[in-house]
């Protein structure tokens, strides 16, 4: 399976895929292919989700009750599974978003101490 080297592409951070999937589904049901496409498009092609990670993640989220699925007919005129957020899924998305911004904030403080807010104390 020789893959062309993806120049300039970013590795997905461990544990962020679930959040991205939930986020992508915020605006309505999508099938797996659509979710992958959306993540890629919205990240300006910087993030590309491997199907080998995406599909197990979708099933994992469904098993936890954050997603539900329905069979429908896709643009390619094929049966496709459409995923959709559940109520608990929406709550989970909020939690993850919260945690993510805390994480970004914390890492930003370490990586960029000069920009630390409230440094007047020193």
């Amino acid at each position: 399976m020789a893959k062309p080297p993806d120049e300039g592409r970013l590795e997905l951070l461990q544990g962020t895929l679930d959040m991205l999937v939930l986020r992508t589904l915020q605006w309505g049901p999508r099938h797996g292919h659509g979710i992958g496409q959306a993540i890629q498009a919205q990240s300006d092609d910087l993030l590309k989700v491997e199907t080998g990670s995406l599909y197990p993640a979708l099933h994992r989220l469904m098993k936890r009750g954050w997603l539900k699925a329905q069979w429908g007919i896709s643009e390619a005129n094929q049966r496709a599974k459409y995923y959709q957020l559940t109520a608990t899924g929406k709550a989970q998305l909020l939690r993850e978003q919260d945690r993510w911004s805390q994480l970004v904030h914390a890492i930003g403080r370490i990586m960029n101490p000069a920009a630390r807010p409230g440094e007047s104390g020193e």
């Binding site: 292919h33 896709s74 390619a76 049966r79 599974k81």
Partner: protein
């Protein structure tokens, strides 16, 4: 919610279709778009599996990993073929023996009967522990009493066994065993006919027409299943009966019979003795529980009414006889004779399984020491304890699975052997078949063994990698020895048990019975065909004439008739009968003495080889009308008259059977004791009557110094010349009668010896294996010993003594465990005995010798170690 396999496929297919469509829209040609989409998607089976695993995660992983390990295990076992073959074979023996015996146990003890609602069927019997009688049966007055008092039993069925001379089916007159039953019998038993009808209430009573139902076995084996028999008239002794039906295949109990007839076919059943004599017990009693009544409730009511009946007739139930009523489910009653032997066999098979597992554990332990390096490498690469155990479990699963498959295959023929054997004790064993329970038992045992074996080897310690060479730690060494000792101990128990059975058998077979065993030929010559009554002159003439003419045959030097073939007719005359003798008063509170009641003709004692000790033999002049006389056995004379003379005293039977005014009979002779009930000779209080005063005999005794069997045709011909309808059956020498009676004992000894033999074989292999392994692991040590001056024979003696030590410790453990086991068994089963010194010593000697032989090869190898090579090897 949980997606099935098809949904996963659909989802992937949907993704690919979208991806292809997109590429085509971008201008790629369909073929390359398809390939690119597939390439981009990734390895489909892996992704599909990872989706699947989300839902089936833990078990899926575990099973898959185990499957993977099993494949590896199989491959690595194929490299150790010898060890794997030994393990599989050993396990197969253990599993096969257990599965087969369990099948038979299930078939005989647990399987339901064919009878309708068989769990409501009960068997009622009287036992008299005081007389040593397990099943005394019932008399008709007793049955009437019980029936009239009891409400918890819906209906009673009665069955008594008689012999008829049957003429009509087949050309020759033949003796058939028949059940005589009342009208309710078949309804109570819940059986159906395969042809015609069964007997019912209309067939009951003395005014009905004679009717008989053939048993399925008789109909198929003797009459080839001929449907034309229905409606035929047969002669049964003096009466006739019409064959009205054929019974479905069912367990014959209490006796295997050819036919079952109504009461009117048996004059005896209509006679006063049968109907009115409380002590004339020959009937088996069955019952069907009334709806809603529990067995316990019925038992309580039956016991209470029986006690009331005994109080009402104290004269018929002596206190010392201690008559009791027993109520058991019919199925248990039928299985009872086989229960002990089957449970003992099951235990023996269990012991063999323990031995097999110990042996396999040893082999696996030794192997795990050899592969300690491999396990250490795995541990170093990050395999956790669980993963390492899983590796071991996978391997033992492969081994045990193979063992189970082979074991179940072995079990199939083995079930036949064991069932044939168990059929000696319970007819139910005859139709035991191999069923799925064999598979379940085999699989269960294999799983148990596999789990056990996976936890036997020690896992490598973190330091295990420090030294890649073969080492035996003290812990492993100890385990090896413990397993070897377990095998020896279990083998010892089995060997001692087998030795005990053999010793008993040999003692019985060689015991002096008091009879001339080799030269006495016996025949059954029942007289019921003539329809003559007791003391009928025709019967006496027939005996007289046949005795005279057979005595003239060349090769015959003595002929007589009697009523009882030793051992073969055991029990047929019932328990010993109470009597009194003038000049002997029982001490206060003591009951009348009891003696066996026998009937013989003049010269009987000379023919069978029992010496006359005093007085005279019966003579032709002792006939009805002359003074009643008897001959007593030595133990009667000594017990009653230790100092005096028994001759010419008068005795009379006090049992109610002989009426209220029994005839006094004069003792005219004393003969040596001969125990005709038990092969193992016991004290035999016996009183003999002359046939001419009582009129029935039915057994012919011929003394022939040459080859007795050569006389059979001539004797048969002679009798048929006198009476053409006379059956002449079952010719055998006393020696063969004894062999026949002992055949269950012989089979017990044989089967148990088989188990002990298997156990011994496995144990020898086990001890040899442990020593061989220990020697090969200590090559270096032996090299050094030799180098510093040890003599090779010292090394030989050293290894040999190790083997003997293991055996000695095992025997000690086996003796202790076996003693405890025997104590428990004695409490549960009355028939179990502690083995004598001889079997124990024999088992010890056999095991010691076997251990020494098993140690010889490894010991020889130790003494032949090449010093230089041993020292250089590491």
């Amino acid at each position: 919610m949980r997606p099935d396999e098809r949904e996963l496929d659909d989802e992937i297919r949907g993704h690919l279709a979208l991806s292809v469509k997109e590429r085509i829209e971008r201008g790629e040609d369909p073929e390359s778009a398809r390939l690119a989409a597939l390439r981009e998607f990734g390895y489909v089976p892996a992704i599909r599996a990872s989706m699947h695993r989300v839902w089936y995660s833990r078990w899926y992983d575990a099973v898959e990993a185990l499957g993977h390990d099993m494949r590896i295990g199989l491959r690595s076992l194929l490299r150790a073929k010898g060890m794997a073959a030994t393990v599989v074979l050993t396990l197969a023996l253990g599993i096969g023996a257990n599965a087969a015996i369990f099948s038979v146990v299930r078939g005989v003890l647990l399987r339901p009967l064919v009878n309708r609602d068989e769990d409501r069927l009960i068997y009622i019997r009287q036992s008299a522990p005081g007389l040593g009688v397990e099943n005394m049966k019932f008399s008709v007055p007793e049955i009437n009493d019980i029936e009239s008092r009891v409400t918890s039993i819906g209906a009673f069925g009665d069955f008594s066994t008689v012999e008829f001379t049957m003429i009509g089916l087949g050309s020759e007159p033949r003796i058939v065993r028949a059940g005589v039953v009342g009208g309710s019998y078949f309804d109570v038993m819940g059986l159906r006919p395969v042809l015609g009808r069964l007997l019912n209430a209309q067939d009951d009573g003395p005014k009905a027409a004679g009717a008989a139902v053939l048993t399925y076995r008789f109909w198929t084996t003797s009459l080839n299943g001929d449907p034309g028999v229905i409606g035929k008239t047969i002669r049964l002794g003096p009466r006739t009966a019409t064959v009205v039906g054929v019974l479905e295949p069912s367990v014959p109990y209490p006796a295997e019979t050819e036919l079952i007839a109504n009461v009117v076919t048996s004059p005896h059943h209509l006679g006063a003795t049968m109907v009115t004599n409380r002590a004339h017990r020959m009937t088996d009693l069955f019952g069907r529980l009334a709806p809603g009544v529990s067995l316990d409730a019925a038992r309580a009511e039956l016991t209470a009414s029986h006690a009331a009946m005994m109080r009402a007739h104290p004269e018929a139930y002596s206190a010392s006889a201690n008559v009791q009523l027993r109520t058991t489910p019919l199925r248990d009653q039928i299985a009872a004779p086989a229960r002990t032997i089957l449970l003992v066999l099951l235990a023996a098979a269990g012991v063999v399984f323990i031995i097999a597992c110990s042996n396999v554990a040893n082999l696996i332990l030794a192997r795990s020491v050899r592969r300690e390096g491999e396990l250490a490498v795995r541990a170093a690469l990050g395999a956790g304890t669980g993963a390492l155990r899983r590796t071991l479990l996978a391997e033992s699963l492969v081994l045990c699975g193979a063992g189970a498959v082979l074991g179940v295959l072995l079990a199939r023929p083995f079930v036949g052997v064991v069932a044939g054997y168990a059929a000696r004790f319970s007819v139910r064993a005859l139709d035991v078949t191999v069923d799925s329970s064999v598979l379940w038992v085999g699989a269960g045992l294999a799983m148990a063994a596999a789990v056990l074996l996976a936890f036997v080897p020690r896992l490598p310690s973190p330091q295990g990698l420090a030294n890649g060479s073969l080492r035996i730690t003290p812990g492993t060494n100890r385990r090896l020895r413990v397993f070897a000792m377990t095998q020896i101990a279990c083998s010892f128990v089995l060997l001692a048990g087998a030795g005990m059975l053999l010793a008993t058998l040999v003692a019985l077979q060689t015991a002096n019975t008091g009879y001339d065993m080799r030269n006495v030929l016996v025949f059954d010559i029942p007289t019921s065909a003539t329809g003559a009554g007791i003391g009928d002159a025709k019967v006496i003439d027939f005996y007289q004439e046949s005795t005279r003419r057979i005595a003239e045959l060349p090769g015959v030097d003595g002929v007589s008739v009697g009523g009882f073939v030793p051992w073969r007719d055991a029990g047929s005359f019932g328990p010993a009968v109470p009597f009194r003798v003038e000049g002997y008063t029982p001490a206060n509170g003591e009951e009348n003495p009891r003696a066996r009641f026998r009937i013989v003709a003049p010269r009987f004692f000379a023919v069978v080889g029992i010496p006359m000790l005093a007085g005279r033999d019966f003579a032709d002049e002792d006939r009805s009308g002359t003074e009643p006389v008897v001959i007593v056995s030595q133990s009667v004379a000594q017990r009653l008259f230790p100092n005096g003379e028994a001759l010419n005293r008068k005795m009379w039977w006090t049992d109610p059977y002989f009426g209220s005014k029994p005839l006094p009979r004069r003792i005219v002779g004393v003969v040596a004791d001969a125990d005709d009930e038990n092969v193992g000779r016991g004290p035999a209080l016996t009183i003999y009557h002359p046939v001419r005063q009582l009129g029935v005999a039915g057994r012919l005794f011929v003394h022939a110094p040459g080859d007795p069997y050569a006389l059979v045709p001539a004797v048969t011909r002679t009798i048929r010349e006198i009476s053409a309808d006379q059956p002449v059956e079952r010719p055998a020498t006393l020696e063969d009668v004894r062999a026949e009676v002992l055949s269950p004992d012989r089979l017990n000894a044989f089967v148990f010896s088989g188990f002990a033999g298997i156990a011994l074989l496995i144990a020898v292999v086990g001890v040899a294996g442990v020593l061989a392994f220990s020697v090969s692991a200590r090559t270096r040590e032996f090299g050094i010993r030799l180098a510093v001056g040890s003599a090779p024979r010292h090394l030989l003696a050293r290894v040999l003594s190790e083997g003997v030590l293991i055996a000695a410790a095992g025997i000690a453990a086996g003796a202790a465990g076996g003693y405890a086991l025997a104590r428990v068994a004695m409490r549960v089963f009355a028939t179990v005995q502690m083995p004598g010194a001889l079997p124990v010593l024999g088992a010890t000697a056999v095991l010691m010798a076997a251990a020494a032989v098993a140690s010889l090869t490894p010991a020889a190898r130790a003494s032949r170690v090449d010093v230089l090579q041993a020292l250089r090897s590491e």
